[in-house]
């Protein structure tokens, strides 16, 4: 455990990616394989069953001390993390609590703790045992452990016990570290990580074993996605329009569909396997020839309909472990293919887009229509003729239920990540409303102790009970301000607080912000009767006063326009 704690501390104190990779790689090479397995899983943020809630841990400390509830609340909203709050409070409170925690069961654990037990003892013996204890025994054991630990270990213990262990190390970074430390290809490490993990010595050895045989293909491992950047027209206006391919930018989720002899794999852009959420697409994939990899969009789109359903339909299926029959019928999914990364096991990514599109079309023609049918669509596009076509095409795309258009260079290879110059996205302009800041809440992590979660309201001109205009909550937004604005707004909020509700403060309704969003629809769950998608702050309207902000009526008008636009087709 000491080595792991040292690693975490060093990671916490380093800012460069390279340095972090070296630290992790070095640690994994040295560590006992059983412990290293745990390290890998913890660093990757592998979801574990929560052993004890942060709330329960707090209750233990609170019952033993005389500290009032509201003071805990204030501390927690200041720190932004319950495990960290408890770690900071314990050294303060322990002198009040004192000893007197001596039951024989506890003593055994404490004795072992004194002999620098290995990490897997913590993870497999101590923590599960603590979690399984009856309330009273649990309290006294946790208190005794806190008592015996040095202050700089409290945070780690509390974090591990409450299960929410995240330290700002991305999954990709751990993969790189394993690859570096054990001389493996990243693709191979990724593939091995797909096997069920069990935090054992055996698993870690298999993960880091030298590459033995030549692999025929990548198996289920996805290619890195190539991402587009928002269009800056001036950067491409000197090129010939005919060099560009224009297609709809669909409003679904990006997906990579891999068909192998061993089965089909559907990956999201966040590199999560989403086979279970979309069984229809996995079924459909059996019609695709083996060793084919498609890039495209997962979207709700019924067989007989001319255009896709709104994103909110797809949202109903995301995050579900199992999709029932009813949901399958109500929200039918389809895969809109727009790129071909591999055909017959051959990596096509360096071929120009034009060739990949021709081959994609050939693949689709060879698919078994009976099985695949409408569930695999080819994204329609066209070569651009004039630059002045672009905005009309975008408008048409929006009317057909897309977010806008994509502009792809016909000679472009399929690169990885966000590389500018080849692919551009040209979305419709966001809808906007000017809203008044009414509540603020402190953020978490890097934004702890700064008011960064904002709630905005619009005016309701008249209500049944009063003829005075009222502010009604409309949307929450977290992003869009720069660091200097965040600090300025934080100071303003502190000096213009009206009331406090735990971590939330209501503020004087004075400041106006322009809020941008991608969609608006009626919603029963929201107080104002409307829900918006991707709300964010576009700018701080310091030129405006609260009474000039928009009304709920304005928002309803926007919503009606959206409904009209989509139903008129």
């Amino acid at each position: 455990m000491d080595a792991f704690a040292a690693l975490i501390e060093e990671l916490d104190q380093s800012t460069g990616t390279k340095r972090k990779i070296d630290l992790i790689a070095g640690h994994l090479q040295q560590a006992d394989a059983h412990d290293a397995a745990w390290t890998v899983l913890l660093l990757m943020g592998e979801r574990r069953k929560r052993l004890i809630t942060g709330r329960r841990l707090r209750e233990i400390l609170q019952q033993a001390s005389a500290m009032p509830d509201w003071l805990f609340d204030d501390c927690q909203s200041h720190v932004g993390d319950s495990a960290e709050t408890l770690s900071l409070l314990w050294p303060q409170l322990k002198s009040d609590i004192g000893g007197g925690i001596h039951n024989p069961g506890v003593t055994i654990w404490i004795n072992q703790l004194g002999h620098s037990p290995p990490m897997h003892w913590w993870m497999e013996q101590l923590l599960p045992a603590v979690a399984a204890m009856e309330a009273e025994e649990q309290s006294s054991t946790v208190l005794a452990i806190w008592e015996s630990l040095p202050n700089d270990r409290l945070f780690l213990f509390n974090k591990l016990l409450t299960g929410g262990f995240r330290i700002g190390v991305a999954r990709g970074l751990v993969v790189k570290a394993i690859a570096t430390g054990f001389n493996l290809e990243e693709a191979l490490v990724l593939e091995r990580l797909m096997a069920p993990a069990d935090a054992s010595e055996h698993w870690f050895r298999a993960l880091t074993a030298a590459a033995s045989e030549e692999r025929g293909n990548r198996g289920p491992v996805p290619y890195p996605f190539f991402l587009a950047s928002p269009l800056k027209p001036e950067t491409i206006e000197d090129t010939a329009p005919s060099e560009w391919w224009v297609e709809h930018k669909w409003d679904g989720i990006r997906g990579q569909l891999i068909q192998r002899e061993s089965g089909a794999y559907l990956w999201s852009r966040g590199e999560e396997l989403i086979n279970e959420q979309f069984p229809e697409l996995i079924e459909m994939a059996s019609a695709i020839p083996a060793d084919t990899v498609l890039d495209g969009e997962v979207i709700c789109w019924a067989e007989s309909e001319q255009q896709p359903r709104p994103f909110s339909d797809l949202q109903r299926r995301l995050g579900r472990k199992n999709v029932g029959r009813k949901l399958r019928l109500e929200c039918p999914v389809s895969f809109v293919a727009y790129d071909l990364l591999e055909r017959n096991g051959q990596d096509l990514r360096s071929a120009p887009l034009q060739q990949r599109l021709e081959q994609l079309s050939a693949v689709q023609q060879r698919m078994d229509v009976n099985t695949a049918g409408w569930r695999c669509r080819l994204s329609s596009g066209q070569q651009l003729e004039h630059w002045d076509q672009l905005n009309r095409l975008r408008q048409e795309a929006v009317e057909q239920g897309a977010e806008g258009v994509m502009l792809k260079h016909l000679q472009s290879p399929y690169l990885s990540g966000r590389k500018r110059g080849h692919w551009w996205k040209h979305k419709r302009d966001p809808m906007t409303l000017d809203a008044v800041l009414i509540y603020a809440q402190a953020g978490r992590g890097r934004r702890a102790n700064l008011f960064t979660d904002y709630t905005f309201a619009l005016w309701e001109k008249q209500t049944e009970s009063t003829s005075n205009p009222q502010l009604v909550t409309f949307a929450k937004a977290y992003s869009g301000l720069n660091d200097a604005e965040i600090l300025e707004l934080d100071r303003w909020i502190r000096s213009h607080t009206r009331e406090r509700f735990g971590p939330t403060r209501s503020v004087e309704p004075e400041l106006v912000f322009e809020i941008g969003f991608e969609g608006i629809q009626a919603s029963k769950r929201h107080k104002c009767g409307l829900a918006v998608r991707f709300p964010r702050i576009l700018r701080w309207r310091s030129d405006r006063t609260a009474d000039s902000a928009n009304t709920i009526e304005d928002a309803r008008t926007l919503c009606d326009q959206v409904v009209k636009r989509t139903s008129s087709l």
């Binding site: 500290m67 009032p68 204030d74 501390c75 932004g80 050294p91 992590g445 934004r447 702890a448």
Partner: protein, 325 residues
């Protein structure tokens, strides 16, 4: 009767016809210490502690009208008897005691209770009404000794002799405390200073504070790589043009705010050293109790939290300062 009242310019004592740390120019200002948010330019006359004079004149102008008083010496302004008492915050920092008729009020200004080799220790001043700060008024804040933090800093600096070590800290108070703490644990190697730190450090040397040897960075030749050197600089220099002179330095920030992980990560320093010139939670409570005050007003930072705790736990008549009227 209230000895002090709140005005737009800050706390005002009618009996003395003087403001304490006024926020805008007034005829007569009583200054607790020379930090910019407490000592502002443009007042008719200033009253302050004698050893704060150097820094005060440097910051407010050489020709200000300044009446400087030693600690604990009583003096009268109109109907009020006043005196300055050490606050242990920075060199020359003071609490201000005001006695009007038989009532004694004390304004702590900023203060700390931990020992600090760069300034006089805090003095407990009994009073009827206490106005205390509460910058770090939450029980999550508990300070280690300066000696221990200085040892951590030395180890951090000495562990990487391949790069310059840039330690950011407030240029008045914290930087000199660091030099004094390093001196106290036996560091003899010369420390380099950013210009803003250097100008204040001079006054500490004049006041006879024992500190590790130091020199402004600007005195070294431009091509000197500064590898392995410790450099103290104000936070405003972080990521500034000034910092370009140091190739891939290791960076750290010394401040009480570094106690919270999120606050440190947000600022983008690699290391945070928890070192504050304000009182921690226990220090604040102890100060209130030791003063014997029955009425307490709390200002700065966690004033609501402190006031509520003092009311509920200690049965004091405690309120945030904005409720004084």
């Amino acid at each position: 009767m209230n000895v002090l009242e709140r005005t737009d310019s800050g706390l005002y004592c009618r009996a003395a016809d003087a403001w304490i740390d006024p926020s805008r120019p007034v005829s007569r200002a009583l200054i607790t210490h020379a930090h910019a948010d407490h000592a502002r330019p443009g007042c008719g006359e200033y009253w302050a502690v004698d050893i704060s004079e150097g820094v005060l004149r440097q910051r407010l102008g050489r020709d200000i009208t300044l009446h400087s008083m030693p600690y604990r010496q009583e003096f009268w302004l109109n109907q009020a008897c006043l005196s300055f008492h050490s606050a242990g915050h920075v060199l020359g920092s003071a609490q201000i005691r005001l006695m009007v008729e038989d009532q004694v009020w004390v304004v702590t200004g900023d203060y700390k209770r931990c020992p600090d080799p760069s300034c006089e220790p805090f003095e407990v001043v009994p009073c009827d009404v206490l106005i205390t700060e509460a910058t770090f008024g939450l029980p999550i804040y508990a300070w280690d000794t300066g000696k221990r933090v200085a040892t951590e800093i030395r180890d951090w600096w000495h562990a990487d002799r391949e790069r310059p070590s840039l330690l950011f800290c407030y240029s008045f108070g914290k930087a000199q405390r660091l030099l004094a703490e390093l001196n106290a644990i036996g560091v003899e190697e010369e420390v380099l200073l950013h210009g803003a730190v250097e100008t204040v450090t001079r006054h500490y040397r004049e006041a006879g504070v024992a500190m590790t040897a130091s020199r402004p960075v600007s005195e070294l030749p431009r091509k000197d790589s500064l590898v392995g050197r410790l450099v103290l600089a104000p936070p405003s220099a972080h990521r500034s043009a000034w910092m370009r002179r140091f190739r891939s330095p290791q960076t750290a920030f010394a401040s009480g705010w570094m106690a919270v992980r999120g606050a440190r990560r947000r600022r983008g320093y690699e290391r945070g050293f928890i070192l504050s010139d304000h009182a921690d939670w226990q220090g604040l409570i102890r100060t209130v109790l030791e003063s014997g005050a029955e009425r307490v007003y709390v200002t700065h930072g966690q004033s609501d939290v402190m006031a509520r705790f003092l009311r509920e736990r200690h049965g004091l008549d405690a309120k945030p300062l904005d409720q004084l009227n």
